[in-house]
């Protein structure tokens, strides 16, 4: 195994660095989480090491080594369960919960990223062993480093974070009351019985109207899990005006049944409307909420279907 040693260490390290790079790109899901960082990084290194070992193992005709990949897959699935469970148990006592959809999305992403790392280090070690064996160590490091950076950009290109602004137009709406019922423009939110709470809403609340661009966007945004995620992000980023005993200040995202438009109603900690719009625009579109009725024949037969997004 001696001839492969340097190659394995090099590709595994590069894989670990790659994991760090793609971990950094999703800080939004984990604002402050040093120990989470460490556990995901170390799993990333394990994945990288597996990917780095696989090719040399095949060259040595050690086919049993492939079974290790299956074992690793099992481990990574476990990571997903752990991630889901720990987030879900914390979620119960959040002021504004993430919601199951968001948690599932985070857990799925973390599992999948380990597989991505395996695939990448496999590619790296294949390149190393096929083309770079006769080169100097320095050249191997430089070339594989460049390939790693290319892979990083490729990953970002293939798995782009879809944002809410890709699906919908977002604008400010007017918060107003009809009797005890609070509305943003024409979207009804809830019935508020306390006069005190009504005044707070009239003075401090911000309302947004979100207009889906097409039927796919409309179906995706209708998903309650997606909506909860948006609300959670708004509350996280703008601060929330609420405590455990004031459910009437819970931020909400509601749907106008007739038009399919959505409304966001929140009393933010800081009342800057532009910050709220920015937060909503940059909210992730969850994989689990994504719907594409326009890809079906029935969907295209719908009268609200447009060939191009409006």
């Amino acid at each position: 195994m001696r001839p492969y040693f340097f190659g394995i260490v090099l590709t595994a390290s590069l894989g670990g660095i790659l994991r760090l790079l793609i971990l950094r790109s999703d800080y939004r899901q984990y604002p402050t989480y040093p120990h989470g960082y460490i556990s995901h990084l170390s799993m990333g290194f394990v994945a990288a090491a597996l990917g780095a070992v696989a090719w040399p193992a095949l060259l040595e005709e050690e086919f049993v080594a492939v079974t290790f990949l299956a074992m690793a897959a099992q481990q990574f699935r476990e990571i997903r369960n752990l991630e889901r469970e720990s987030l879900a148990s914390l979620d119960i006592i959040e002021l504004v919960p993430r919601g199951r959809h968001y948690i599932e999305g985070i857990a799925r992403t973390f599992e999948a990223r380990n597989y991505i790392i395996i695939a990448c280090t496999l590619t790296l070690s294949a390149i190393d062993l096929t083309f770079l064996q006769s080169q100097t160590i320095f050249l191997r490091i430089v070339i594989l480093g460049v390939v790693t950076v290319l892979i990083y950009f490729f990953i970002n290109f293939v798995f782009p974070d879809k944002r809410l602004e890709d699906l919908a137009d977002i604008r400010l709406g007017k918060v107003h009351f009809q009797g005890p019922n609070v509305f943003v423009d024409d979207i009804h939110f809830m019935n508020i019985g306390l006069e005190e709470a009504k005044e707070e809403y009239l003075n401090k609340a911000l309302g947004l109207v979100i207009e889906p661009k097409d039927i796919d966007a409309s179906a995706t945004l209708a998903n309650p899990g997606q909506r909860q995620a948006v609300i959670h992000i708004c509350a996280k980023l703008l601060g929330v005006y609420k405590d455990v005993d004031t459910p009437e200040f819970t931020p909400l995202m509601r749907r106008h049944i007739k038009s399919g438009n959505l409304g966001v109603l929140i009393i933010p900690g800081s009342g800057d409307p532009q910050a709220l719009i920015a937060a909503v625009k940059r909210s992730p579109v969850l994989e689990g909420a994504m719907a594409k009725p326009s890809k079906s024949f029935a969907g295209r037969e719908r009268e609200d279907y447009h060939d191009t997004p409006r």
């Binding site: 009797g179 005890p180 809830m190 019935n191 508020i192 019985g193 306390l194 006069e195 005190e196 709470a197 309650p224 455990v244 005993d245 004031t246 459910p247 009437e248």
Partner: protein, 66 residues
């Protein structure tokens, strides 16, 4: 999210509206002498139970756990 998760914890009625209450049903019924007292009772009940106050617009406030 099922409707059965939502429980009416209490009802606060004005004296004039107390005719609407036939029996207690689920949760106790509190009778308030005026709107101010009604708001006060409802606010306390809401804070204590963590329930949300809804206005039935007929002199009745209900506190609901969502």
């Amino acid at each position: 999210m099922t409707p059965l998760d939502k429980v009416i914890l209490a009802t606060v009625v004005l004296v004039e509206a107390s005719q609407y209450v036939i029996s207690g049903g689920s949760g106790p019924v509190y009778v308030a002498k005026d709107v101010k007292e009604q708001q006060q009772i409802a606010m306390y009940l809401s804070r204590i139970t963590g329930g949300m106050v809804h206005d039935m617009e007929n002199g009745m406030l209900i506190i609901v756990r969502h």
